[in-house]
Symmetry: C2
Subunit: 129 residues, 2 copies
DNA sequence: AGAGTGGCTTTGTGGTGGAAAGTATGCGGC
DNA sequence: GCCGCATACTTTCCACCACAAAGCCACTCT
């Protein structure tokens, strides 16, 4: 096939960071993005409707990816974990969001085109099995 | 904790359909959304920069989920597979996109708030480990 | 002191994305 | 006619990972 299609890879969305492109983590990071002071483990848990185990696991992943900073401390004698977006994390989040925006643009364009009536004609030379 | 936070579950994004919320499949479906007449296997392959095996698997998933219709035919003697978004698929795609939009809104709001200087003060009662 | 709760971490597992390998057919050269 | 290479997929395999369940520790209440 013609490799020089202008549209080659048009919908590949390579910039969609795997670490961020994940329901739960997307929620976590988005909620963190809004609060420069960070959020507590328990707040995140209820904001994102996650179980303890789940949140813990995702936070570890995000931390290892350098996206969040995790500060373990105490409130009185009880452990209290504070999570913040790192600068690096903020950067990557913004990049990710930019790609999402382009996905959305594609989607909008698509639904415009989709208004056209679907032709009943199959591509030339095509014959059903 | 107070369960009646107005923000409970605010960032849970429950509507983010797992089948669609996937780099590769998101690309596939988005490209299909624009063309009511569908696309051929090979076109999808190059549009989304997928390997044959990958594309094949994702198409099966999408078909089993009732999102795409797959028509296997022949062009001359060579097999030729045509893929189209089903009506159901179009519906689910639009729902998904709507959720994506709200993620984006959250992100925009977040970056507005993030303009505020990050306070150096840790939450009350918090002491580093 | 024993039951209950809050705040996490660790373990177990079923599911899945993607690479690699496999199948089947067609075409061109010699 | 068959050898090699290409097209058009499908199937197999594996490493990873999201999520649930169980575990852990400290505090509180009674």
């Amino acid at each position: 096939m013609n490799d020089n299609l202008p549209d080659e890879g048009r919908y590949a969305y390579e910039g969609l960071d795997r670490v961020l492109h994940e329901k739960a983590r997307l929620g976590i990071v988005t909620s963190l993005a809004a609060r420069a002071d960070g959020l507590l483990f328990t707040d995140l848990k209820s904001l994102c409707n996650l179980t303890d185990g789940n949140l813990s696991r995702h936070l570890t992943v995000l931390q290892e990816a350098g996206i969040v900073e995790i500060h373990k401390g105490y409130r009185g004698r009880r452990p209290q974990t504070l999570c913040r977006l790192s600068d690096e994390g903020k950067k990557r989040y913004l990049d990710y969001i930019a790609v999402l925006e382009s996905v959305l643009e594609d989607a909008v364009e698509a639904s415009k085109l989709a208004k056209k009536v679907r032709s009943k004609v199959l591509p030339e030379g095509f014959s059903p099995a």
